[in-house]
Amino acid sequence: MKSGDIVRCEYGGTSRKGTYITSRNGMSVIKLDSGYNIGIPPQSCSSVERPVIEPGKKLELVQDKNLPELAIVSTGGTIASRIDYRTGSVTSQSDAAAILHAIPELKKVANFTTRSLYTILSENMTPRIWQELARAVFEEIQRGVTGVIVTHGTDTMTYTAAALSFMIDTPVPIILVGSQRSADRPSSDNAMNAVCAARAARSDLGEVAVVMHASTNDDACSIHRGTRVRKMHTSQRDAFRSIGIPPIGTVAYPSLEVKLSCDAARRNSCKPALHDKLDERCALIAFHPGISPDILEAYERYHGIVLSGTGLGHVCTELIPNLKKLIDNGTTIMMTSQCLNGKVCDRVYDTGRDLLEAGVIEGGDMLPEVALVKMMWVLGNEKDKGRVRHLLLTDLKGECNRRRTHG
C-alpha cells in the first residue's frame, strides 16, 4: 500500500473506508473519513483505489509592487513546519512562498522576494551554513532590498544571529524570526512574529536582530540585538530575552508600530561589507564541579576555546595547568560566565588570578554562545595573537557592554 491509497478496513466487525497514511510500529495508520487516524493490523486493510494525485496547485503570489522590497531567506524551523508522515512529528518542509501563502497579512507590509536556502531544523545548523547564509543575505543587501528576513528554527537562532552580526556590516535590518508553537496550529505565534519581523525589516534599524513575542499575549514583539539575545525557555512564546541590555525595540501588534531605543543602530550608518571567514576549530566547554582535567585532552588541536565558568569566571584550580598547556601550544582561551548576567572578573579571587596568569582572556559580559561565535570569527580573520586578543576584548557588534546599568 502507498500513502494516499483509498482503503477498506475490516476491523472489529465493521467495515470502513479511509486513506492509507503510513506504516508505524507494525500497524497501518489509516485516516478514516471522519478525519480520525487509527492504527490497525495491516491484514485488516485492503487497497481499493489509488487516486491520481493532482499536481499541487502552484502558489501564485500577487504583491503590491509599490511597497518596499524585503527579502525572505528561509532556512526552515517551526515557522514553516508541517507534519512528516515518516516519523509522525513536525519537520520543516515549506519554502518561503509557502510562508507568504500561509500568512497573507505579510503582503500588506512589503513586497517580498523569497529565497529558500535550507529546510532544516536549527539543531542541524553548522558554521558552514552560517557562512552560506551570510553570503546569501549579503547578496540581497547588495541587490538593494530594504531589509532581509531570515526564517530560522528557534533552538540555535541566537548563534546564527551572532554569526551574521560578526560576518556582515549591514546598513539595513537583518531580522531573524521563528516560532515557538508550530505553524500548523491555529494559535501559532508564527504569523504575528513574521508580520512584526517584516515591519522591523522596513524600519529605521541598521543591525542584525531577532524579532519574537515579547510576552505570552499577542500584543507585541521585542526586537533583540543579535549579539545579546538568548533563548531562555524551552517552549513559551516569549522565550527570547535580551540579556544585559533591554530589547533595542518593539513592534506593537496589530498596529505594527515600531519603537527603537536610542541604542539601536540606525539604517545606513555603515557601508555593506562581508567578512565571511570562520575558524570552526573552536569549542564551548561548560565547567562543572568534578570535571576531569583530562577532558581537555580532547581539545588539544583546537584553535579557540570558550569556557563557561562559574560566578565571576572560574574553573577549579585542578584544571588550570591543563589550560596553560593548551595556551602554550597556541590555543586561545576565553572565559565567560554561566550566570549569563554580569561581567567576568578574574582579578578578585586567587583562582581568577591564576587563570589570567595562565593566559586566559576575560570575556567581559559576553554571552558564552556569542563568545564562541566571536572566537570563530576572530580566529577566522586574524592570526596574530596580539590582534586576536585585542579583537576579542573589543566591542565589535554590541556583544560587550562597556557599562552595565542595573537590572
Partner: protein, 615 residues
C-alpha cells in the same frame, strides 16, 4: 395513505471523567470560581490547513470575524492549558476508564490509538484545536442499535462571557460516545441516552452534576438533512428537541416547494447601500449604524417571516448566518413596519429596491462596508439554500429555549482533523485490554441490592443512581446495616434537603461517622437527622454527638439497667418477662435518647432474664 416523514436519529454523549489529573497535563480536574483567577492573557486564532491542504469549512466560517480571545488562568492550571508547553503523554487513568466503558458496551479497541487535533477556533481551546483520540468501535445497545465509536477527548474551556474564557475546565478528560442512526422515535432517543448515562455512571469514575454530561443529537428526516444539535443538557428535553427539529425540517421543505412554485430568485449583485434612507429613522439600531445595506429576495415575501419552529422563522436562520460577520442581526420587510421603522420608510425602501409585491427586502446594519457586505453575502447564501434542491442545510446547531435550535456553523468535515504530533500513539494490546475489569451495571446492582438487602427495587434504583452510592458501598463493607445506610443516605437526606439543609456540604466521611456512631450505640437512630444538620453546618461528627447525644457507653448503660432492675425487683418478680415494656420507658428516659432503642431493649431483656433466673 401517505407515510409521515421518517425520523433517523443518533446521539453523541459527552461525559466528563472524574480523574485525578487532566488528559494531557498534570493539573487537577477541579472547577474554579471565576473570581479566583490568578492571571490572564489574550491571543488571536487563525484557521490552518489540514494535512491534506484544506481549510475546514466550519473553521473558515469562524474566520469571518476577528478572533481575539482572552483567558483566565488559575493556580490549578499550567503552561499546557496556556498552549505554552507541549502536552504530557495521555493520562492512563482516563484511558483506562474509557477502555472500561468500551468493554461494557462490548466494543473492540483500536490497537494503536492516535491522538488528533480537532480544529475548533471559537476560542474555547487556547491551541485552536481540541485533542481527541478514537479509542474503540462497534458496541451494542439494548434497542439493537450500535455504538459506533468511543473517543477520548479533552474538555474545552468554559466561556465566561463573549470572548472571555476560563481555563480551569480546559483539558478535563471527556468520553464521546456516538451511536449509529438507530433511533426512530423521540422517546427512543431519550431512552438510549438514559441507558448510556447509566452505563457511564456504573464505572463510578464520571463527574456528576450540571454540565458534566452533554448530549448532541444528530437528526435527519426523509427529504431533509443531517443536523447536529449541540448542548442538550437535560435528558427530558431530547424528545422535544427532536420533535421541533422534525417540524423545522418539514417547514423548510414546504417553504422550498412554495419558493419553486413562485419562481423565486436571488441575485447577490443586488446588494445596495441604503444608509441614507434611515438618517432620520426612529429605529435606534438603524440610526446608530454606520452602514446599512439591503438585498431584494424575489418571491420571498411572507416566507422569511414564516414560523418554522416555535419562536423561529426563516428570517431567524438568515440572521444567524449574518451574525457570523459580527453584525447584531437582520431586519426584513415581513416583520416591518416595527422596531421604530415606519410604513413610510418601508415604502421608500421598496421603491429604492425596485421591489415587486412578492419580494422581501432584507436589511443589514453594521460598522463597516466590509462587515455589512459579509453579512449580506451570508443572507444570500442562506436564501439560496432555501431555494435549492437541498433546502435543509447540513449544520451544527445549538439548542435555545425550550428545545428550538439556532444555527451555529456548518458540519465540520474531515479537514478539521490533524494529527497531534506532540503525543505518541497509545498501544492497546491484549494484555492491556484483558486487564480492564468490567464493573457491575447500576441496574443490575439495584436488583442485587433489592434482593440481598430486602429493599424495594425502586428504592434500590434510587440508591444506585445516587451520588452517595460509594458511601453506601463503603458503609456496607464496614459492617453498617444496609437498611440503616440506605435510609440515612436517601430518605433522611432527601427530607433534610427539602427542609433547606445543605446536604451537599456533608462530607462522605461525616455520613460514615454518623452511621458508625449509630451502629455502635454511641448515638440513637433517632438522633440521625440532627447529626446530619450539624454536619451540614460544618460541625464534626464527634462534636455533634457530644452536643446532641452525650454518649452513654455500654458499661454505663448496663450500670443504669442494673440500677433500675435492682430498684424494681418486686415489679419484675410480679410481671416476669412482661416487665420489659414498662421498664423500657424508664431506661430510655434515663439515657436521654442517646442509646439506640434496640440496644436498650436487648440489655434490659438480658438483665430481666438474669434476675428471673436468680429467683
Amino acid at each position: 395513505m401517505a407515510e409521515g416523514p421518517r425520523l433517523t436519529a443518533g446521539i453523541e454523549i459527552h461525559q466528563q471523567l472524574n480523574t485525578k489529573e487532566k488528559l494531557f497535563c498534570h493539573c487537577p480536574t477541579t472547577l474554579r470560581e471565576v473570581t479566583e483567577h490568578s492571571g490572564e492573557f489574550f491571543r488571536y486564532l487563525r484557521a490552518t490547513e489540514s494535512e491534506i491542504g484544506e481549510i475546514d469549512r466550519a473553521a473558515k466560517e469562524e474566520m469571518k470575524r476577528d478572533r481575539k480571545f482572552q483567558y483566565y488562568t488559575y493556580d490549578t492550571t499550567c503552561l499546557v492549558e496556556n498552549d505554552e508547553e507541549p502536552p504530557a503523554p495521555m493520562n492512563s487513568e482516563a484511558l483506562s476508564v474509557c477502555l472500561t466503558i468500551a468493554k461494557m458496551f462490548g466494543m473492540t479497541p483500536i490497537p494503536q490509538i492516535h491522538t488528533m487535533r480537532k480544529l475548533v477556533i471559537d476560542g474555547s481551546n487556547t491551541s485552536g484545536f481540541q485533542r481527541t483520540a478514537f479509542v474503540a468501535l462497534n458496541g451494542c445497545l439494548p434497542n439493537g442499535g450500535q455504538i459506533e465509536t468511543i473517543c477520548l477527548e479533552e474538555e474545552a474551556a468554559q466561556r465566561v462571557k463573549d470572548d472571555l474564557f476560563s481555563l480551569d475546565r480546559l483539558g478535563i478528560p471527556l468520553v464521546e460516545i456516538t451511536t449509529s442512526p438507530c433511533m426512530h422515535t423521540p422517546e427512543e432517543v431519550q431512552q438510549v441516552a438514559e441507558y448510556i448515562g447509566m452505563v457511564l455512571r456504573s464505572t463510578g469514575k464520571v463527574k456528576r452534576g450540571i454540565g458534566t454530561i452533554r448530549q448532541d443529537v444528530n437528526i435527519s428526516i426523509t427529504g431533509g438533512a443531517r443536523v447536529e444539535i449541540k448542548g442538550v443538557q437535560e435528558l427530558g428535553l431530547i424528545a422535544e428537541v427532536v420533535r421541533r427539529e422534525m417540524l423545522r425540517q418539514q417547514n423548510l421543505i414546504a417553504i422550498h416547494d412554495e419558493l419553486v412554485c413562485r419562481g423565486a430568485s436571488v441575485d447577490a449583485n443586488d446588494g445596495t447601500d441604503i444608509t441614507d434612507l434611515f438618517r432620520e429613522t426612529k429605529s435606534t439600531v438603524l440610526k446608530k449604524a454606520k452602514r446599512i445595506h439591503a438585498i431584494r429576495l424575489g418571491g420571498f415575501t411572507g416566507l422569511v417571516g414564516r414560523t418554522i419552529q416555535p419562536d423561529r422563522r426563516l428570517g431567524s436562520e438568515m440572521s444567524d448566518y449574518a451574525k457570523k460577520c459580527g453584525v447584531g442581526g437582520i431586519f426584513h420587510t415581513d416583520e416591518l413596519p416595527a422596531y421604530g421603522v415606519t410604513q413610510e420608510e418601508v415604502d421608500r425602501l421598496r421603491t429604492r429596491m425596485h421591489a415587486a409585491e412578492g419580494d422581501c427586502i432584507v436589511l443589514v446594519a453594521g460598522a463597516t462596508d466590509r462587515q455589512v457586505e459579509c453579512a449580506l453575502g451570508q443572507v444570500v447564501t442562506r436564501a439560496k439554500i432555501a431555494m435549492s434542491a437541498m433546502p435543509v442545510p447540513e449544520e451544527t446547531r445549538k439548542m435555545v429555549e425550550e428545545g428550538s435550535t439556532a444555527y451555529m456553523r456548518p458540519l465540520p468535515g474531515a479537514a478539521r482533523m490533524y494529527p497531534e504530533t506532540d503525543v505518541l500513539p497509545e498501544v492497546i494490546d491484549e494484555v492491556r485490554w484483558n486487564c480492564i475489569e468490567v464493573p457491575e451495571l447500576l441496574n443490575e446492582k439495584a436488583s442485587r441490592y433489592a434482593e440481598k438487602y430486602a429493599i424495594d427495587l425502586s428504592y434500590a434504583t434510587q440508591l444506585v443512581s445516587s451520588k452517595r452510592l460509594p458511601v453506601f458501598e463503603r458503609a456496607i463493607e464496614e459492617g453498617i446495616k444496609p437498611k440503616l445506610a440506605a435510609f440515612t443516605l436517601l430518605s433522611t437526606s432527601t427530607e433534610l434537603r427539602r427542609e433547606g439543609i445543605k446536604i451537599q456540604n456533608v462530607a462522605d466521611e461525616a455520613f460514615i461517622g454518623i452511621l458508625h456512631a449509630v451502629e455502635e450505640g454511641r448515638a440513637a437512630r433517632e438522633a440521625i437527622p440532627d447529626l446530619i444538620r450539624s454536619a451540614a453546618e460544618g460541625c464534626s461528627v464527634e462534636g455533634a454527638i457530644a452536643k446532641l447525644a452525650p454518649s452513654v457507653s455500654r458499661e454505663e448503660l448496663e450500670a443504669i439497667v442494673r440500677k433500675i432492675i435492682e430498684s424494681r425487683s418486686d415489679f419484675i418478680r410480679e410481671k416476669g418477662k412482661a416487665a420489659l415494656g414498662p421498664l423500657m420507658g424508664v431506661v430510655m428516659a434515663e439515657v436521654r435518647g442517646s442509646v439506640d432503642g434496640k440496644l436498650v431493649s436487648e440489655t434490659l431483656r438480658k438483665g430481666i432474664d438474669a434476675r428471673l433466673a436468680d429467683t
